[in-house]
Symmetry: C2
Subunit: 406 residues, 2 copies
């Protein structure tokens, strides 16, 4: 494979930053980058059909190894002919390694508080003593209890890669240890070094499984994950180590302090090879998307647009609004007059307000379409601003309006 | 108006039965009859976009006056420009009178047990003493408490018609009293006579509101409702009385014993004027659809297809199946190999099984598409069998397979 499964061409680099616009080619089509990856946790983008996902402009869908492993099980995905056929999405796909969920359901974080939960089902929460017992990390992998029935399971790098080969997404991730942002230096170093050993085991397993006939997609690219928490020396060491390996691309994992996330991402991307795509995991807030692009990231994913949508919170160019606010009951204008999405072209705030109050499923569908369109289209506009050499102006213009401040 | 708002042409009559195939013309398009009317209780067909509803073959959507009156309120519908604009459905629409829900939330049935609940939200249930207090009927109308906040409201024939003018559907219903199937003869007569007086008041209100400028749709047809329970003399008397009035069509309301529903419907349709459409309210079971058509009904509505779908119960030509059955976990065939719906053309039972187990919203969407397509298409095939003079053969063929009997 040797990094040739995913073709990545850089179309244009930004002056004075690490940002770039490019194109990734997968077995199921191209992704123009920077791009926002739509999350389809359980092999479905919540409340949407694949046609809706395509129509709103999504280029790539990311499903969740942990959830699909527990249900319906990797064999069902494999027997179906892989993720694409199973869920009726013919475009590019990704799976994460499952590690994040295994860890975030109970942890050896060295702390009882985690705020890193970002997947489709978990929300920010504190882990109590009971939950701390639910997952255990050792050199071999992580042992955890199922969220569905409490049964015990173990993910190792080899197991994660095998499951991801059964699922058959176009881009898959090495198995890594996800640490809490509050973990101390010693623990972050220990976890990072373990992640590096797991990266090699993931790569070896990937090469081995590529030789086997049983899997549905023989054109999978494997992305290594850089860890190291908020520590500059660890991040740089991890970028050197993972960047030097035979991956098809890279993920930047773990949590950062919101304020200096840009700096930490830059530490990493200054070191990672320029000619392979980089995915900043779990990021979807407008401000963070500009930051990620500016600092050299090509892909982003986050459940926030759809989760917010299901709660009635919607993006507009003038910031966020919530459809349950009384003022929308008789507001017969669209969510955002400038928006070209299906929802804004066909429905009023009054109708959405009614659907949310009546707890109708169509509320989630229409709101998810809008928020995904908004986020995906924002990254597309950022991309265009790079091509047009006006990223700085566009960033200033958008953020000033969205956050009503500079 | 004088019955000219809804044009109704009979294309073909069946020999030896009351059945007929025809076309209703409304201000928002034609309905080829017999037709199954899709229920969109709260101005949304649950879990579906209007485009999906159109694509699966629906010709007409029925919304619920009771629910829309309580939320978002009739004024919101009127200010939106009416139901069509509010919900983004440009085809023909209907509203019921709201009476059924007002009554079924507590009643003067003369019994504490009701099994007539058929609307979008209510399920078959027993009414306790507490609920009996919730609705009260008198000559003027029915007083009831809101399911949303317990506040007290009153529907009269005039109020029901005013709300329906505000909502602006193409076909609306006179306000009637819905009795329990267990009500005795005396109560049924009393209720029927009241329904007849309310029919006249509904018609008078309709003519009055047609002269006012404030309503969004000036082309509404009003359908009178025949009652009389399971008693032959009452049904015939009601058909004579309501059939002799200046309505644009008719509804047949109330409950029947399942076994002799056909007989009771025939009593009515032998009397009702042949040149106006007839709607059999709340019926959607395949056997009952054949019965209704054979006995002279043109329109049917029922929440069963979508409610069953949300519970995982799906129609096939070989009867019903439930997607939660373990055998579907690895069944990579469609729900029904003969079915041409979007769901059957693109998804397997294994995928639907996964979505239902994962409680994903897309499960309801895909299952509702299938069950509505199945039911709507069944009535279309019944229609075609009338045109082709093979209703009897088609009925035999379908029912033998579906019910595995005869």
């Amino acid at each position: 494979m040797n990094g040739k499964v995913l073709k990545f061409d850089i179309e244009k680099k930004m002056n004075g930053t690490l940002g770039r616009a490019g194109v990734i080619e997968t077995a199921h089509g191209k992704i123009e980058t920077p791009a926002f990856v739509t999350v389809g946790t359980k092999a479905t983008v919540k409340a949407l059909t694949p046609e809706m996902v395509l129509e709103l402009g999504a280029q790539v869908v990311l499903a969740n190894t942990y959830h699909l492993y527990l249900q319906p099980g990797e064999d069902a995905l494999c027997d179906a002919g892989g993720l694409h056929k199973f869920m009726n999405w013919n475009g590019p796909t990704m799976t994460d390694s499952g590690g994040f969920q295994a860890f975030s359901l109970g942890v050896a974080f060295g702390t009882s508080v985690s705020k890193i939960a970002k997947d489709g089902e978990d929300v920010e929460r504190e882990f109590g003593a009971e939950e701390l017992k639910m997952a255990k990390v050792d050199e071999d992998g992580v042992t955890f209890k199922s969220v569905i029935d409490g049964s015990e399971h173990k993910f190792t790098p080899e197991k994660s890669i095998e499951i991801q080969h059964n699922i058959g997404a176009d881009m898959i991730f090495a198995f890594d240890e996800c640490t809490a942002p509050t973990a101390d230096y010693e623990y972050q170093r220990e976890a990072m070094e373990r992640t590096h050993r797991w990266a090699q085991r993931s790569l070896d397993a990937h090469k081995k499984f590529n030789l086997e006939k049983r899997f549905p997609n023989k054109q999978q690219g494997l992305l290594g994950i850089v860890q190291g928490g908020r520590f500059e020396d660890l991040r740089k060491e991890s970028a050197e180590f993972i960047g030097g390996m035979d991956f098809d691309g890279f993920g930047i994992g773990g949590s950062f302090n919101k304020e200096d996330m840009g700096t930490a991402v830059a530490w990493v991307n200054e070191i990672l090879p320029e000619d392979k795509p980089r995915h900043l995991l779990g990021i979807g807030e407008p401000l963070d998307l500009f930051m990620g692009v500016e600092n050299g990231c090509d892909l982003f994913d986050c459940v926030a647009p759809t989760r917010m949508a299901r709660n009635g919170t919607l993006h507009t160019n003038d910031g966020r609004i919530n459809m349950l606010n009384a003022k929308f009951v008789k507001d017969f204008s669209p969510i955002d007059k400038e928006c070209e999405c299906y929802t804004c072209k066909n429905y009023t705030c009054a109708y959405l307000s009614h659907l949310f109050r009546a707890k109708e499923m169509l509320a989630s569908t229409l709101a998810s379409i809008h928020n995904l369109y908004f986020t995906i289209n924002l990254v597309k506009k950022i991309r265009q601003s790079i091509l047009d050499e006006r990223f700085g102006e566009y960033k200033e213009e958008f953020l000033t309006k969205y956050y009503k401040t500079k």
